[in-house]
């Protein structure tokens, strides 16, 4: 995307520079309209955009939560300025500001809020999704390998906004079982 954007930008700049070097543009006025407005103004962006749109939607569809056997489900509730996480596989168990997930398995995070709008964002695992009062939004995340991933709330929420961060700990299968049994903190 960056490369094609750079290419288009380069094209516009080259056309601008050439405008100052040339004596006279090509052809008469109707022909200029055909070149500049219909060709470069209409046909060119439409084809680029159509391709981009299809590409974006295809990726978006792939990122959507799908039903599956091995999906783990967790809950995330934002509150100024702490996240509380709950686990379907360990009812009653909650953690604060650290979300535990199994690595290598898709995880659905049910996101909501107890006060104002927040946004759940773990950049390396998925895009962001808002926590809206009175609603539950579900985000599909997946960590390929065990480890710790940094997360932030990405919707302005007042004076403690900059410190409103959390982390995600992805466990291997054994570690996840241990966590669910309550062995890890």
């Amino acid at each position: 995307m960056l490369a094609s954007a750079a290419l288009i930008f380069g094209l516009v700049m080259v056309l601008l520079v050439l405008a100052f070097r040339r004596r006279k543009g090509p052809g008469d006025e109707p022909q200029q309209v055909r070149i500049w407005i219909i060709g470069l103004g209409l046909v060119f962006p439409m084809s680029v955009l159509a391709a981009l749109l299809v590409y974006g939607l295809a990726i978006g569809e792939r990122l959507l939560p799908r039903e599956g056997d091995d999906v783990a489900r967790v809950g995330a509730e934002g509150r100024r300025w702490v996240w509380t996480f709950s686990y379907e596989d360990a009812p009653g168990r909650t953690t604060q500001d650290i979300l535990h997930i199994p690595a290598g398995r898709p995880v659905d995070v049910a996101i909501t809020t107890a006060d104002v709008i927040h946004s759940f964002w773990v950049p390396r695992l998925a895009g962001k999704l808002d926590a809206i009062p009175g609603r539950v939004n579900t985000l599909r995340i997946e960590a390929d390998a065990p480890g710790t991933y940094a997360g932030v709330s990405a919707e302005f929420s007042g004076a403690g906004y900059d410190r409103f961060t959390f982390s995600v700990t992805a466990h291997d299968a054994a570690g996840w079982d241990a966590f669910l049994k309550g062995d890890t903190e």
């Binding site: 995307m1 601008l16 709008i117 946004s119 962001k128 004076a159």
Partner: protein
């Protein structure tokens, strides 16, 4: 009469009052346009200083420069000032100053409204500045999302300053938009058909129509949020049947068109200035107009792209993603038409042209990053990071500030009548251009590294320190550049030598006058036969000054002009303008008392202020008009025209049509909000439904029908030389019946504080009641006018205006009552 005598006579008629009083009583568009621009640039400086504070804060990690409470106020005010107090008023100021000159007439359609809008802007903006000085400025972000901005999480007065101050300023935007629309459609030189209009007028027309349909959702949202904060009616609280997403919809229904409301006037400046800089004509005039119109339409279909991360279903996102990318097409048409224009002509690298090239480089990047964030998965990552901040600054600075600087330097000789002497502008441009790109390229980068927007500080281990420092250094270079532009302009205005007329050899009519422009613009009005009258007749200015055009002879001390048929530009009415008056500033001060009373919760002064505004509005219209008919008057060149007061579709009628367009958008947004809450919000159904009453409903609808029929009857009878009084009295009765029905509905609404259902019904009822009382006032006004002899079968313009309002009342009154009663009757 020679040119000098004519100049003296016209100046005596059109000039504002001498001394300090003239500043407050002027209704002249040249004065007010200048005042608008100077005030807008004053706010630009304030907003820029706030930006410097932001960059100072972010230059180093863990900065102790400002705490989060202050920092939140700073960035909220930076966004608010730049959007509402700089960008929009700059457009208004430029359009107010230029349009009558470009269109070859003497003033805008409603001179007193221009002044009223200006003073509302000044007073509303001052309220926000005072809040800032006192350290109680809004701090919830310029988008003011509830519940963060709601009564629970922002209990202080900060948010109220925003909601009330901005609504006050919006009055000026709506006033200017009505004014600009009617002026462009009706107030043109004879012969100037729509296809001969200067391209800037097309852009201004489209922008004004967008303001009329884009701002009402925001005004509605602000009113609802303020009512929630002040009186506890829960529109945005999920647990009481409200929905915070309703605010986001209303806000972005305004907020996205707003981007194009800002860009289109700038595009108009480019389309005007660029061909002159290239010694040619604009390539593809018709295509550009079509592109601007489609941009306007598309921009209303994009608002959801600001909400990609709110959990809207993916197919919905797909639609808005498609619309968002599609908007790049008309933008592309304009960009390439401009580049084609440069190829067509012989470009000269003069100062306005430099800024236009700055526009190209910056805006194209902004557009390309815009296409990136229109791709949904990319936006899920980039949303609310510094990448977006950088993107929007590329769009707004590139798409507005550079073109406006080009325009400022282009029209500076027109504003002042002087020639540039100190060539500080070229160096300033280089600093602005370099400083801007350093600042915001760095910001793209740090955003992709994950730095969120609106954080007051960050840690050294985040690894953003060097980039932020580079960005901050760039921003100070940018600020120095803008400071130099300012000094350049001030030096120019104070010291430069007199310049010659039309220094750029442009073809449009604003250069067909002496500069600085005289109060009356044109000593006589030209007959326009081409898009560039000055290119066609280089001596046009002299000939107009000699009185060879229309309305060349001043008479009776009148400020006169003529209007034309919308499409063909054929002259159709003679217009007499009101003269200098303090009424606008007084009325906006009383309007200010109304808003201030709400802000400070001095509720006992609210009804006083409302009565005051009503009284002044009554006077406003009362002082116009005459007690005897005017004959058709000669306009010159053998044309005679009837005065506008003796027509059915007077300028006031046209203004009413467009004001009602804005009003209908407001009402439509309210109905949308009602339906949205009903169907989408969590927390429904409400604990209790409104108990429908066929009697109240029937009474109200009968009243609405009676009012509508009676005013129509009065219009017809008056024209046939009969007495309109019976019809008017019945109109009054009809309006009062609607008022009673709406008031009854409000009184019986189940506790508005307990659930959004009752709250929304209450607001719907108040909307109906307000319009019913307004209709009753107008009917009474007309009765008084008839009794005092201000109307006749000929002098009939006021009837059709009241007819429009009463007709509108009938429709909205019926809809309001149906919205309240019908669900109960149906179940």
């Amino acid at each position: 009469m020679n040119a000098l005598e004519r100049h003296r006579k016209l100046t005596a008629i059109w000039a504002s009052e001498p001394g300090w009083r003239g500043w407050f009583s002027t209704v002249n568009h040249t004065d007010l346009g200048r005042m608008f621009l100077v005030t807008a640039f004053f706010f630009f400086i304030i907003g820029g200083l706030l930006a410097m504070l932001i960059r100072a804060q972010l230059a180093t990690p863990q900065s102790a420069f400002a705490g989060p409470e202050i920092y939140n106020q700073i960035f909220t005010m930076h966004g608010t000032i730049m959007m509402f107090l700089f960008a929009i008023p700059t457009f208004e100021g430029l359009a107010i100053y230029l349009l009558p000159k470009l269109l070859g007439t003497r003033d805008l359609a409603f001179p007193r409204l221009t002044a009223y809008g200006f003073w509302c802007y000044v007073f509303g903006g001052t309220m926000l500045l005072v809040a800032m000085v006192l350290g109680i400025a809004p701090d919830g972000g310029w988008f003011m999302y509830p519940p963060l901005s709601g009564p629970l999480y922002s209990p202080g007065i900060n948010t109220d300053f925003w909601l009330i101050g901005i609504t006050f300023v919006e009055i000026s935007a709506i006033a200017a938009a009505v004014e600009i629309t009617v002026s462009i459609l009706k107030y043109r030189a004879p012969g100037m058909s729509l296809d001969k209009m200067p391209i800037f007028a097309w852009y201004a027309l489209i922008t004004a129509l967008m303001i009329l349909t884009g701002f009402p959702p925001l005004i509605l949202g602000s009113i609802l949020l303020e009512v929630e904060r002040a009186f506890g009616l829960p529109f945005f609280q999920a647990e009481l049947g409200g929905d915070s997403l309703l605010w986001q919809h209303l806000f972005w229904l305004f907020g996205h068109p707003e981007v194009y409301i800002i860009f289109l006037p700038a595009a108009g400046v480019i389309s005007t200035v660029l061909p002159v800089m290239c010694r040619t004509t604009l390539l593809g005039y018709g295509w550009i107009v079509a592109a601007a119109v489609s941009l306007a339409f598309l921009s209303f279909g994009l608002w959801v792209h600001h909400m990609f991360t709110t959990g809207i279903p993916h197919m919905g996102l797909a639609f808005f993603s498609a619309a968002s990318t599609l908007v790049a097409v008309p933008t592309g048409v304009q960009i390439f038409a401009w580049i084609g224009t440069i190829w067509k002509g012989r470009p000269e690298l003069r100062l306005p042209m430099l800024h236009i090239l700055g526009f190209f480089a910056t805006f194209v990047i902004g557009g390309l990053t815009g296409v990136m964030v229109a791709v949904v998965p990319f936006d899920w990552q980039a949303h609310d990071t510094a990448f977006i901040t950088a993107h929007l600054h590329y769009v707004l600075f590139g798409g507005f500030v550079f073109p406006i600087f080009a325009g400022v330097y282009y029209w500076l000789p027109h504003f002042t009548g002087r020639r540039r002497f100190f060539h500080l502008g070229e160096l300033a441009f280089a600093l602005v251009f370099i400083g801007f790109h350093v600042t915001f390229l760095a910001m793209h980068w740090v955003g992709l590294l994950g730095q969120r927007r609106r954080i007051p500080t960050y840690a050294p281990e985040d690894g953003w320190t060097a980039i932020n420092l580079i960005s901050s250094v760039g921003s100070f270079v940018l600020a120095i550049g803008i400071g130099m532009i300012l000094i350049d302009v001030i030096l120019h205005a104070l010291t430069a030598a007199r310049g010659r007329r039309n220094p750029w050899r442009a073809g449009t009519l604003e250069w067909a006058m002496i500069t600085p422009p005289p109060a009356y613009n044109l000593a006589s009005l030209p007959h326009v036969t081409s898009r560039e009258p000055l290119t066609q007749e280089p001596d046009l200015a002299v000939r107009l000054a000699r009185g060879e055009g229309y309305l060349a002879t001043p008479r009776h001390g009148w400020r006169e002009t003529l209007t034309v048929d919308v499409a063909s530009g054929r002259p159709d009415m003679h217009v007499l303008y009101p003269t200098n008056t303090l009424l606008p500033i007084i009325m906006s001060a009383v309007t200010g008392v109304f808003f201030l009373s709400l802000l400070l919760k001095f509720y006992w002064t609210v009804p006083l202020a409302v009565a005051g505004v009503a009284y002044l509005a009554w006077r406003w219209v009362w002082v116009l008009g005459r007690k005897e008919d005017l004959d058709a008057l000669p306009m010159g060149h053998g044309i005679t025209l009837l005065n506008a007061a003796m027509t059915d579709h007077s300028p006031g009628w046209w203004g009413t049509v467009f004001l009602l367009t804005a009003n209908a958008t407001f009402f439509g947004s309210l109905l949308f909000g009602f339906a949205f809450l009903w169907t989408v919000a969590p927390g429904w159904p409400p604990p209790a439904w409104f108990v429908a009453s066929p009697v109240e409903l029937g009474f109200g609808i009968l009243g609405a029908a009676l009012g509508c029929f009676a005013i129509g009857h009065a219009i017809v009878v008056n024209r046939r030389n009969g007495s309109p009084l019976p019809g008017l009295v019945l109109t009054l009765a009809g309006a009062l019946a609607v008022a009673v029905a709406c008031a009854a509905m409000m009184a019986r609404t189940p506790s508005p504080e307990a659930h959004a259902y009752g709250a929304t019904l209450f607001v719907l009822g108040s909307y109906g009641l307000f319009h019913a009382v307004l209709g009753a006032l107008m009917a009474s006004f007309l009765i008084a006018r008839v009794l005092q002899g201000f109307t006749s079968p000929m002098r009939r313009a006021e009837f059709t205006i009241v007819g429009l309002w009463v007709g509108y009342l009938s429709v909205v009154g019926t809809l309001v009552l149906l919205a309240g009663h019908l669900p109960g009757l149906a179940s």
